[in-house]
């Protein structure tokens, strides 16, 4: 059982200076649990149970005299979470800038009660640029398909193999039809939503098993959602996706470290272990996309 940190609460109203809680709410204190590091409000001191993690702790008597402990304040929110005051594009652009250049600052300012905004940022950023990338890739690779077909046709002397190759290229050509490409592009928000939650869920379970999930699932989700920022590179054909995914992994690690307030090693382990788990699921997702395309193209 540990003794908790204790701070007098500031009560800030618009256009008013910060004042100590004792002036406003007599006896109330903010306490931080030594086990889960969550902050909670309590009206009494002494032995009690943390309302977040359920572990026992002791809240000490507040010291007499003027408050000297540091004030516990909520982060102000990322630019995207403050887009109502900054504007939509300004909020998105500043969030992207911080995610790519100052990730520590971005994750430190993320509010854990803004899951909807974080989900919106991840889905918007990923799906729009993923869709653009798919369309660009189809346009740029259209010419190379015909060249490949001619090349394989010339190389293969076996008529069965040549026929199989021909069939493969036909399937690919149908999948590259404008209707199939647009249909797949329209489905990217759904794919993004599922992949984001599967990834965040697995990362959180691994972090919890390793004892690194100090601040609950909302902290893991904030890390995973803002780590999607480098996926704007999905719009770059060919190498963009590789660079984007590697950058995403690094950002998720930084995000886990900052949002959960854990060590670098713990964050790295929490982020890298799931990729062994995702190994199979990632290939299934790719396969499912291929099958959906095949069905969309009307191939039996």
């Amino acid at each position: 059982m540990g003794e908790v940190a204790i701070a007098r609460v500031a009560w800030k109203l618009p256009k008013r200076t910060v004042r100590a809680l004792l002036d406003v709410l007599e006896g109330g204190v903010l306490a931080r649990c030594p086990s889960c590091h969550n902050t909670f409000s309590t009206e009494r001191t002494g032995r009690q149970i943390c309302p977040v993690c359920g572990k026992p702790l002791v809240v000490p008597e507040p010291q007499a005299g003027p408050p000297t402990a540091e004030l516990v304040s909520e982060p102000q929110g990322t630019p995207w979470e403050r887009r109502s005051e900054l504007g939509f594009w300004q909020g998105w652009a500043q969030t992207m800038q911080q995610a790519l250049l100052e990730p520590g600052r971005l994750f430190a300012s993320a509010r854990l009660d803004r899951a909807g905004a974080q989900l919106g940022f991840a889905i918007l950023t990923t799906s729009v640029f993923w869709a653009i990338g798919q369309i660009l890739e189809r346009l740029l690779l259209r010419g190379s398909t015909d060249r490949m077909r001619e090349l394989f046709g010339a190389l293969s002397q076996n008529p069965d193999v040549a026929q199989m190759m021909q069939r493969m290229f036909e399937v690919q050509s149908r999948a590259n039809s404008p209707a199939a490409v647009l249909a797949l592009a329209a489905l990217t928000p759904a794919f993004t939503f599922v992949l984001l939650y599967v990834s965040a869920g697995i990362t959180h379970v691994v972090a919890a098993v390793l004892g690194q999930a100090k601040r609950g699932f909302p902290a893991t989700f904030a890390a995973c959602a803002y780590a999607c920022a480098p996926l704007v590179l999905l719009a770059v054909p060919a190498c963009g996706s590789i660079v984007g995914v590697i950058w995403l992994v690094v950002l998720t690690g930084i995000g886990m470290k900052v949002t959960h307030r854990i060590s670098t090693g713990g964050a790295a382990a929490s982020v890298l272990v799931p990729y062994f788990v995702l190994c199979c699921l990632l290939f299934l997702a790719v396969g499912a996309s291929a099958l959906a395309l095949r069905n969309a193209a009307g191939v039996p």
Binding site: Y197, V198, V205, C280, L281, L284, V286, L291
Partner: protein, 133 residues
């Protein structure tokens, strides 16, 4: 785990219910053992000969949604458990949206962490032994 009074589901609870429903629907609709999906192999298993931690989960989902419990457990006991947990969570969340004022409260303490680690390890050993040539 205990059942406690709760308000409407959080955004994460609702999203996980949606994801679980979509995955179960995909497992019902997509033929995993027919081309094209059957052509995709786990790269970890291909490279090392050993299954990864997630190997067998997709087949467990596929068999579980078709009611083939024995085959599902044979593919991956943890995957089967996850499929049923996903279905239970999706159903319970739908009931909470309809006004059910109760929700399970799970404390992620040390005991739960160890249980998760042991379950993952036991499942991996089971799948590795069962699929080893």
């Amino acid at each position: 785990m205990r059942i406690a009074r709760a308000g409407p589901p959080s955004i994460h609870a609702a999203a996980f219910a949606g994801v679980a429903a979509m995955l179960l629907l995909a497992a019902t609709a997509l033929p995993l053992d027919a081309p094209v999906l059957a052509l995709f192999a786990c790269p970890f298993r291909t490279a090392t000969g050993w299954p990864c931690l997630g190997c067998g989960f997709t087949h467990a989902f596929q068999f579980a949604v078709r009611g083939q419990l024995g085959a599902a457990l044979g593919a991956s006991p943890l995957g089967t458990l996850l499929a049923f947990a996903g279905a239970a969570h999706a159903s319970w969340t739908a009931l909470r949206f309809a006004g059910l004022p109760w929700a399970p409260a799970i404390a992620a303490g040390t005991r739960m962490r160890w249980a998760c680690a042991v379950a993952l390890a036991a499942n991996w050993i089971f799948v590795a032994v069962r699929t080893r040539p």
